[in-house]
């Protein structure tokens, strides 16, 4: 061998990590579809029919769905893994959330169709931002690295800030955009600071590494080799306890929780929710309630259940407190609202509290129950806001409880569909919402959090009152005689039909969805260095 070549071989090589492409396809499709749409419309916008952007988005969502399925199957056969130097996790948990986000995108695109035209907001911007934010959500749901997770969160958030302020001619929309942006930027700062502190405490940004290093695990056990699995099985007794002494880690966790709490609208980080839900265009709200919440909870679970499981004793009480606060504030304050969007905003806070009950369990069953709840809630929320999109009328103004008065007489099917969705949110049997609550309460009881389960159910009863108020307005009150005839565009009609079917079908036979959520285990793959 020539000496020159030998010398070249000994030069330091750029460290290019192995990349599995299959699990990355959903990420690429979602982000790529957004960019391509923007390009197509700017080049050939004049010749495209009005429904093109909406159809493109729906197709992109379905494509993400289709490309996620092979990943699920591969993980099923080969077990979870990670890619790009351990920063993207390839597990069924992330696939479940990706599918959920893809479905949210498809349904939101359907809901937005017609709305944008009605409000003279035509153009691809809405759909591009929607897909970009979903791409960010996908990254959040599969990030095994705190920086990657932060990138995903920022992509998601920035797109949603703009979406919220989309309605150019509504001051409320602008106001909501500013409010959401300022508070959201603040929350992101908290999150970033938390990441820095966690890095300081554990010396790593990789969640699987953090899981091993937390609580002074290095100092205690001396080497990593005695624990080869990513779980806590190999960790000696007493190690987890030491985290309590690690102020840096605790502070970092607290900061992270602030950031996530903001995204999922948990009390006391919820203050933006009613204003933003009320001000933002209704289809955007349906995406925020379904997609953003799901992505937020997925990230929360990845970090806390994935990364910080060893110190679960430290964060469980905090989740307990957040859950109770969210349940109480969400259900109680919803009662005094008169605007349907505000009512549903507070109800979404209450739902976040319910989901936190599942998080608090810190068990695999708890994670499964959270996923099931997120899927159920996404369907109910998108459907509900789709109805509001239709009912609110020109200018997106008619969101008061009055505008729903006598809907059953004007549009019986729409009122019936809305009722199904509301009863599902209340957790009435034979709807998917019942099984969502059933699963969360099961997880809580199994983790011996009996009182939390009791409080959650009591809050659910209080929340039932607010759904009943809407039902009363629709069914038991007479319509205003001068109410204009309600036009229901095809897109929202299809979306509502799909989610109502989903709600009832899985309400009667939830087993397939239960099994999927049970299979979607969150187990971080430890990347070999």
């Amino acid at each position: 061998m020539l000496p020159v070549l030998a010398e070249a071989n000994s030069l330091p090589q750029a460290n290019i990590p192995d990349i599995q492409w299959l699990p990355l396809i959903p990420h690429i499709v979602m982000a790529g579809a957004a960019v391509v749409l923007l390009t197509i419309v700017s080049v050939a916008g004049r010749w495209l029919p009005g429904w093109f952007a909406s159809a493109w988005t729906a197709a992109a969502g379905l494509a993400v769905l289709a490309t996620a399925i092979p990943v699920w199957i591969r993980v099923d056969q080969e077990g979870e893994s990670s890619t790009i130097a351990g920063s993207i996790g390839v597990d069924q948990f992330s696939v479940f959330v990706i599918v959920l986000l893809a479905c949210s995108v498809v349904l939101t695109a359907l809901v937005a169709d017609g709305f944008l035209h009605r409000e003279s907001l035509d153009g691809p911007a809405f759909y591009v931002l929607l897909m970009l934010s979903a791409a960010g959500g996908i990254t959040m749901a599969s990030a095994n690295n705190l920086i990657v997770l932060f990138l995903g969160l920022e992509i998601l958030s920035l797109a949603v800030y703009v979406l919220v302020a989309m309605h150019l001619r509504r001051a409320e929309s602008q106001e909501a955009g500013i409010k959401y942006f300022v508070l959201g930027a603040f929350a992101s700062a908290f999150l970033l600071y938390g990441i820095a502190l966690v890095y300081g405490a554990t010396g790593s940004l990789n969640l699987a590494d953090i899981r091993l290093r937390q609580g002074g695990w290095f100092a205690y056990a001396g080497s990593e080799s005695s624990s080869t699995d990513a779980g806590m099985q190999g960790v000696p007794e007493g190690v987890a306890m030491m985290a309590a002494d690690n102020g840096l880690l605790l502070a970092g966790m607290a900061m992270l929780l602030v950031g996530f709490g903001f995204k999922v609208a948990a009390v006391p980080f919820h203050a933006w929710t009613p204003d933003v839900y009320q001000g933002a265009p209704s289809p955007v709200v349906s995406y925020m309630a379904a997609g953003v919440k799901a992505a937020g909870f997925a990230a929360l679970l990845r970090v806390f259940f994935g990364g910080f499981l060893g110190v679960a004793d430290d964060w469980q009480p905090v989740m307990f407190g957040l859950a109770i606060a969210s349940l109480a504030v969400g259900s109680m304050l919803a009662i005094v609202q008169t605007d349907v969007k505000r009512i549903l905003a507070y109800s979404s806070i209450s739902h976040a509290g319910f989901i936190l009950v599942g998080v608090q369990a810190a068990t695999d069953d708890g994670v499964a129950s959270v996923l099931f709840y997120l899927a159920a809630y996404a369907a109910m929320a998108i459907g509900s806001f789709a109805v509001i999109t239709v009912v609110s009328g020109p200018g997106d103004e008619g969101t008061g409880l009055d505008s729903l008065r006598g809907l059953a007489a004007r549009r019986p099917l729409l009122a019936a569909a809305f009722t199904v969705l509301l009863l599902s949110q209340a957790g009435i049997p034979f709807t998917v919402g019942f099984w969502a609550k059933f699963e969360v309460i099961t997880a809580a009881v199994d983790a011996r959090s009996f009182w939390l389960a009791v409080i959650a159910m009591l809050a659910a009863v209080v929340a039932a009152f607010l759904y009943l108020r809407i039902v009363v307005a629709m069914f038991l009150e007479a319509p205003e005689s001068d109410a204009p005839r309600l036009r229901i565009p095809r897109g929202p009609a299809v979306a509502v039909a799909i989610v109502v079917l989903f709600t009832l079908a899985f309400g009667i036979y939830p087993e397939p969805l239960l099994n999927l959520a049970d299979d979607a285990l969150l187990s971080l793959h430890l990347h070999a260095h």
Partner: protein, 528 residues
């Protein structure tokens, strides 16, 4: 899938009828009622057939159908009937066609009949379910049709009453769900088996749970049922709901829905928690006795005839609870019989009050006088029904109350004495109301009131017939209940760990006595 298919047919036939009604075109509104009547009558006929085919010597569940439903969660489709639920099923099958025939909705007939039939499916499902989750699903889903029936076709204050009814009942069952899950998960942990919500399996391992845990879970169940019964002090939804509901709604509410609570106390209280039932029995029968007296006193004060009947329900249901928590054969049998009796007599009373309301457009007692002159047949029927409600010997109410008081006297003498005063009070408020409404000289408004028409007479015939029949000859009912009640007592004694050589043929069997007996013999085997 295994076993008999008759019970699913009974449960879902009304639902099929509801679906059929939903498909009827608006232009053919005249066939709505015939379809509703036909479906509910066919269901009623099936329940009668079920009573005939029922093996009266078997105390176990019959016509069982068991198939896996949500296997991963241990939930199955499990239905069956025994002597405890049989007559409630028949009562449901009977009262629904009567209520549907008797009252026509003033508007939105289609939705009205759909909700009535959905309600029937829900009620039948509750009585026949032998899986805890299945039971809970039906128990909870009953709220929706009742909510709409009250809220949409009720009287002036209907929205308030409907919402109150919904939230009260949901509050109770919310905690029951937690209790139910705790029971299933902890039992699975104790026995090392898979999680199951199968009622029979859970009952068989009822002794496995720690005593204190079982007591807490029992309380969560009892709260749900107490709201439904309703027991004092969670009864406040009842007068509102009953008064504001349309006539058919009141009939079903009083006749069937209240029984969901008392039935639940027997099936899921006594059966699943023998020790806890025994422990909390003093609390519950005390509440029952309070209900008897309170209901009677408040009923006496009412100026609204419908509200008076509603409060009389509180008193009657107090009797039933007293009987159940005497925990002996007489008491429980009396309670079960009284559930049927109350369904018949109070259902009939609400119908009659509804008939009067349709004619006079008022429920105020002070505005009615001397109706006897104007409507002699109505007055005669009212007399029979009212006397049945008072508990006059020879009519059905007497048999039930007598059995309950016998059972209660054996178990807790003084409470039985106090409760007996409730019988006198019942005579007071009902007779006084009768006197004010039917006696006297009618004024102009009351003189011209028409009597019952043939349709109304028709629906009263089976009710009055059964009131008399069960008063004279209750044996066909009691002999079918007895094996199941004895089996229940036997089961409770087994789980309690008491061995008694005379179980089953000892009619006065009560745990108190058994404890005394055992103490006398110096047997220390029962300690926990």
């Amino acid at each position: 899938m295994g076993g008999s298919t008759v019970l699913p047919v009974i449960i879902f036939l009304p639902l099929v009828g509801a679906a059929a009604i939903a498909l009827i075109a608006p232009s053919r509104a005249t066939v709505l009622k015939p379809v509703a009547v036909a479906t509910s009558a066919a269901t009623g006929a099936l329940t009668l057939w079920l009573m005939g085919a029922f093996d009266k010597n078997d105390g176990d569940f019959q016509f069982i159908q068991l198939t896996e439903w949500i296997g991963s969660a241990g939930i199955s489709w499990h239905v069956g009937v025994d002597g405890i639920s049989l007559f409630l099923v028949v009562l449901t099958g009977l009262l629904f066609p009567i209520a549907i025939v008797a009252c026509d909705p003033p508007h939105d007939a289609k939705a009205y009949y759909i909700w009535m039939l959905v309600l029937e499916t829900g009620c039948l499902g509750v009585f026949l379910a032998l899986d805890l989750v299945l039971f809970f699903l039906f128990f909870e889903v009953v709220l929706i049709p009742m909510y709409f029936l009250i809220g949409k076709w009720g009287h002036e204050n209907r929205k308030y009453a409907a919402t109150k009814f919904f939230l009260f009942t949901m509050l109770g069952s919310a905690l029951m769900l937690v209790g139910m899950l705790t029971l299933a998960l902890l039992t699975a942990r104790e026995t090392g088996g898979a999680v199951t919500f199968n009622l029979i399996e859970l009952a068989n391992s009822a002794g496995e749970l720690p005593t204190i845990t079982a007591r807490w879970i029992f309380l969560s169940f009892v709260l749900a049922f107490a709201v439904k019964v309703p027991l004092f002090p969670v009864h406040t939804w009842l007068p509102d709901a009953h008064t504001e509901a349309p006539t058919a709604g009141s009939v079903i509410l009083a006749g069937v829905l209240l029984k969901l609570g008392t039935y639940g106390l027997v099936r899921f209280g006594l059966y699943l928690f023998p020790e806890a039932s025994q422990y909390f029995a003093p609390l519950l029968f005390t509440l029952g006795v309070i209900g008897i007296l309170y209901g009677a006193v408040v009923a006496t004060m009412q100026r609204d005839l419908k509200r008076l009947v509603a409060y009389s329900s509180v008193a009657h249901l107090g009797f039933i609870v007293l009987g159940i928590f005497s925990i002996n054969t007489e008491g429980i049998e009396g309670g079960l019989l009284q559930m049927v009796n109350h369904g018949l007599s109070t259902g009939a009373l609400f119908l009659l009050v509804g008939f009067i309301y349709e004619r006079r457009h008022t429920r105020q007692i002070s505005e009615m006088i001397g109706l006897q002159k104007a409507a002699p047949v109505l007055a005669a029927v009212f007399t029979v029904v009212m006397l049945s409600s008072v508990g006059l010997p020879g009519l059905n109410g007497f048999v039930g109350e007598f059995l309950i008081l016998t059972g209660a006297f054996v178990a807790h003498r003084w409470w039985a004495v106090v409760a007996a005063a409730g019988v006198i009070l019942a005579a007071l408020y009902l007779l006084w109301a009768y006197q004010r409404v039917f006696h006297g000289t009618p004024d102009d408004a009351n003189r011209s009131m028409p009597d019952l028409n043939w349709q109304e007479k028709l629906v009263m015939v089976p009710l009055v017939g059964l009131i008399v029949f069960l008063g004279v000859y209750p044996k066909p009912v009691i002999e079918r209940m007895e094996p199941a009640v004895n089996a229940l007592i036997e089961h409770m004694e087994e789980v309690e760990g008491i061995e008694s050589p005379t179980v089953g043929d000892r009619p006065e069997g009560s745990f108190e006595e058994l404890r005394k007996l055992k103490a006398d013999y110096g047997d220390e085997g029962e300690g926990h």
